[in-house]
Amino acid sequence: MPDHVQTGISGVDAILGGVGIPQGHTILISGGPGSGKTTFAIQFLYTGATEYGEPGLYITLDEEPEDIKKNMSQFGWDLDKLEREKKLIFINVSPVRVAPTERAGLIQLGMKEFKLVKLLEAVRTGVEEIGAKRVVIDPVTIFMLQYPDEIERIYAMKDLIADFRKNGCTNLLISELKGTGLEREHQFEEYLVQGVILLRTVMKGDKLSRMFQVSKMRGLAVDNQPRPYDITDGGIEVYPTLTVFK
């Protein structure tokens, strides 16, 4: 079993000490709207399945899998085919889906434990069904929103990560980044996970400038300078040798 999991995303592995994410780690991918978090996550699973023989599990709490597949086809990734070949599985555990007609919002009191259990169950099913080695939860923010109390939220997150450690998979948790630009608050999830990758965007005039930064990666000497990245026709490309200019 390899010690590290290559992301296969252009430039990212070079930044991750040339080797990739330590196998079995849970990593937080944090970015603002439009920063390419979902693209990053899907690309991680796609290259895992196609290039490294590692099946992937994608748990969505927000977007419909069909919408995701449709959006990702612009990069030339045929996700349906991977699903048929049992190299990729989508599981939709969107809380909205539980009560689609209710207008009560996403937070449904009294259902918390069920949600965590349901989420963990979904992960287990996926891992068993196709032998997934890579797991993505997109976005973990929605799951966390169900715990209005901060202490409870931390415990739920801890439980989730603890359970993840057992499955042997390399996991990406997607979260919304609060605040854009260089100034930002640290989010509590960042302390609990083993690695944090930030996808940040800055407005330059009327253009968006993007930077990729590995702000934490336990057990690995990484380049933690911000590096420019771009979302191209082939997915995310990070430029590990370029400096970010203001």
């Binding site: 005039g205 253009k207 191209t232 370029l242």
Partner: protein
């Protein structure tokens, strides 16, 4: 040190070109681009003040031809910055001046796409991003441009002086490995080399409008001209070719001509036709105006012949018949065996037949009329002689039958005035050009790999009088940079392909070079030798330009230099630079290997 040295971007260096707006920085930079392309370096052009389409237009004006996106690509930081939308170009990636990251990313993408080393990156100019990003541009120079250069590339960045803070300019100049300041002063441009990794600090002045060397009386060395004409008319010794002799293998001028044509298929044929057609009339005009030229260029025997034998005009068949001495001369020079077809000719419509035409031999059945030299020469002869006798009118000639079209001989139609089908006959379509290229390569590889003779005609053999060289390679003197570029670039492309093919055939580097240099000797280009440098004595390309008095300030073996350069870049990853040239008054032409 010549201008050519300055216009070559040194390796692993960032050169800053500073000067006030309008000092000619961009023009200087375009020359660098053309030189880079001629040296077979991939060029990435970051433009912030003009669109790529516009720049390509300007470069074409200077004779660029049609480089591939791998050879020349653009980062367009102009259109997006100013907000205009232009059609997508396959050689362009967009960026904007507001975000320096977008520029560094775009350059990196193009660098990957090129997949080659030794890139020339031209940044025209840093002023726009400076206006948006301020001092951050200094960091950009240090952490991107300087680094990019250090990785084995060359970077030339332009910046306007007097726009922005003085200390920022000083910071930029301190980061750069070289600084060239450009200023204008009345009618000349001053290039001030403040610091440079290869050159000593100095100042040189360049006239702003480089003097176009037209065909003027004062450019001739009358002695050399007289010697040459004597040799041509009465069989004396050609000046400058004492050892190699008066003939070259006609493959060489044809090779030069078609290399130029392949480089610039749109304009090269018309350009060559017009130059060859205007040559004789221009000389007659000079001879009329200048007694000394008249005596040198038209020896008394010729004048006598002209006076008594030549008609007032060539309209009628009986008058055209009097052009026989000229036709005889063509045969004597082994251009081909020509006869006037008086039976099918009529007033103002004349036909000639030519056997074993050197223009067309070796191109059997390529699907086009191949004569590039003889038709315009005949038209020029008629126009020139009529002018001598006081009549001013145009003549034109077109090839109607050709070995290249599958005919057993070639035929030409010669008429006063325009010929509508001329343009179509001169321009060749892509498939024809490919066949011509294929044919040239077949001949060359047959010779280089299997020792087969290049081209051989049953009666006239493989040689042609050196006069032909002037019409294939001597014209840069008259036609300026466009023609020079076509010869240089065409030569470079061909040299590269020849080198690659020899390497593919499994030859060692040294053997490949040796065989090509043998080819030059075989073609009687000159006496070739090579040790640290390559030397060609009596090089036909420049021996011929000797008849001009104005010694060229720059080495001017455009085709030979391009060809050797392409060859060395493919075979040895080296370049050559002409350092001595017969045309500059040196005893031989010499190339250093870098």
């Amino acid at each position: 040190m010549s201008l050519a040295h300055i216009q070559e971007a040194p390796d692993k260096s960032l050169i800053l070109l500073a000067g006030p707006p309008g000092a000619g920085k961009s023009t200087f930079c375009h020359q660098l681009v053309l030189n880079g392309l001629a040296m077979d370096r991939p060029v990435i052009f970051v433009t912030t003040e003009q669109s790529p389409t516009w720049i390509v237009g300007l470069l074409r004006e200077q004779g660029m031809g049609e480089p591939t996106p791998a050879a020349l690509s653009f980062v367009d930081a102009f259109d997006e910055t100013v907000g205009v939308t232009t059609p997508e170009r396959p050689d362009t990636i967009h960026a904007n001046c507001v975000d320096l990251n977008s520029i560094s990313i775009a350059v990196t993408k193009l660098q990957r796409r090129t997949g080659r080393k030794g890139i020339l990156l031209v940044f025209d100019s840093l002023t726009s991003p400076y206006l948006f990003c301020g001092r951050e541009i200094v960091r950009f120079m240090r952490l991107f441009l300087s680094k990019f250069a250090a990785e084995g590339n060359s970077v030339v960045a332009l910046v306007d002086e007097g726009c922005g803070k003085e200390e920022d300019l000083v910071a930029m100049m301190s980061i750069a490995d070289g600084v060239i300041k450009i200023e204008t002063e009345e009618d000349r441009q001053l290039l001030n080399i403040v610091k440079h990794p290869k050159l000593r600090p100095t100042r040189i002045a360049v006239p702003i409008e480089p003097e176009r060397i037209g065909l003027e009386a004062r450019i001739f060395d009358l002695g050399a001209l007289r010697e040459y004409i004597q040799a041509q008319v009465t069989g004396g010794e050609t000046p400058g070719r004492k050892e190699v002799g008066d003939y070259v293998n006609f493959f060489w001028p044809n090779f030069a001509h078609w290399s130029g044509m392949l480089w610039d298929p749109k304009r090269f044929p018309t350009m060559t036709y017009e130059l060859n057609r205007e040559d004789a009339p221009a000389m007659f005009k000079l001879a009329k105006e200048d007694e000394a030229i008249k005596r040198a260029w038209l020896p008394w025997r010729m004048r006598l012949l002209g006076k008594f034998l030549m008609p007032k005009n060539f309209s009628k068949v009986k008058d055209m018949k009097k052009s026989w001495p000229f036709l005889q001369q063509l045969t004597k020079e082994r251009t081909g065996i020509v006869e006037y077809l008086e039976d099918v000719s009529k007033t103002d419509e004349h036909y000639f037949r030519m056997y074993e035409s050197s223009d067309c031999w070796g191109f059997e059945n390529v699907g086009a009329a191949m004569a590039s030299y003889i038709p315009p020469l005949m038209a020029g002869f008629c126009k020139g002689f009529e002018y001598w006798k006081g009549l001013e009118r145009e003549w034109n000639a077109v090839e109607t039958k050709c070995i290249g079209l599958g005919d057993p001989y070639c035929e030409f139609k010669l008429v006063p005035g325009r010929i509508d089908e001329l343009k179509a006959s001169l321009e060749k379509d892509v498939s024809v050009i490919e066949r011509i290229h294929g044919r040239l390569m077949d001949h060359l590889m047959g010779f280089l790999l299997h020792g087969k003779p290049l081209v051989e005609r049953p009666k006239l053999g493989s040689d042609i009088y050196i006069h032909r060289i002037f019409h294939a390679m001597g014209f840069p003197a008259l036609a300026g940079e466009r023609y020079q570029m076509a010869l240089r670039m065409g030569g470079a492309n061909m040299g590269k392909e020849v080198g690659e093919r020899l390497m593919d055939a499994g030859l060692s580097e040294d053997e490949a070079v040796k065989r090509v240099l043998n080819l030059l000797e075989y073609c009687k280009v000159g006496k070739v030798s090579m040790d640290e440098t390559i030397r060609i004595e009596e090089n036909c390309e420049s021996s011929y330009t000797m008849i001009f008095t104005t010694k060229w300030k720059e080495p001017s073996c455009y085709f030979t230099t391009g060809f050797l350069n392409g060859l060395f870049s493919a075979v040895k990853s080296q370049h050559v630079r002409e350092i001595k040239c017969i045309a500059m008054g040196d005893p031989y032409c010499e190339w250093e290997i870098v």
